[in-house]
Amino acid sequence: MERAVNDDRDVVNRVLAGDTDAFALLVDRWQIPLVNLAWRYCRDRGRAEEMAQEVFLRAWRNLAQWRGESAFSTWLFALAANFYRTELRRIPAGMKSLDEVSEPPDERLSAGALDNARRDEAIRRAVLALPEKYRDAVLLFYFHDEDVPAAARTLRIPEGTLKARLFRGRELLRSKFSRPPRAGAPAAVAAQTPKEAR
């Protein structure tokens, strides 16, 4: 871990000294996490790669702003999360997909009614329908392998705030998937009004 941090620092120093090709080392090292974080935000492979590429470009432009106080990955993920959030405000992720993966209206969208793969995909897409602050908390918590401090650092919020948002986000998800859809209504519509379920 420590070695990776030092490696990043060395590479960044080389890039800042004018060695543009050295940036390829950072791209190789961080492309999978950045593309996957983007993928979690939009569930669209092409768009995920475009967004990740833009993050790398922004990282390259603003590399001098990383002062080494935090790990390079923390800085990069914060930059990425901020950009992905802004992009999703500009062009939201396709929410129609939630309809596509939902069960027909007469079946229940629940753990027992769907096979695992379809249920998991429905949950992942449902996360995108959460209010922004809960969505970010949930996405980054799981992206960081359920590491609360890492997710909090990426979002630049206190851990307590992250935990509260995470709790609320999961609660919303549970309520979405615990509520049987109304007859004749698409599951996605039912999923977007969790408060009514109480």
Partner: protein, 138 residues
Amino acid sequence: MTQHVPNPNPLPDAGIDAALSVRDDVILPSSGFADAVMTAVHREATAPAPIAFPWKRAIPGFVAAAGALTFLIATLVALFRFRAAAATVRAPVPQVIDVGWFTQFAHSHFGPDALWVAVALAIPLLCVLLMRKLLFAR
């Protein structure tokens, strides 16, 4: 009429964890992704630096504009004060700006508003002249 039937199988936390855990939801970037990023980086690295804003040339313009604005505001304030004074006391309205013979000439030949018309015309003219000087001066 809608019927809400209690769900016998609410989604457990483990279901959310399983669905959202990193291990089960990973994609790999396409083979050309890193190359595309580096191409974009090299393109940006070799692009000419953006042209800096010409502060040196712009400062006289800003100063002139600020001066003109101050003059205009001061003139308007003075004008309103004199108008207010003239409304209460029937006295001859003194000249806001006394430019001697020009004021008298303008008053006698074109009426009391001629001075303001002249000032209003002179300001844009001065601006145009200043801009030309700043743009074409080498």
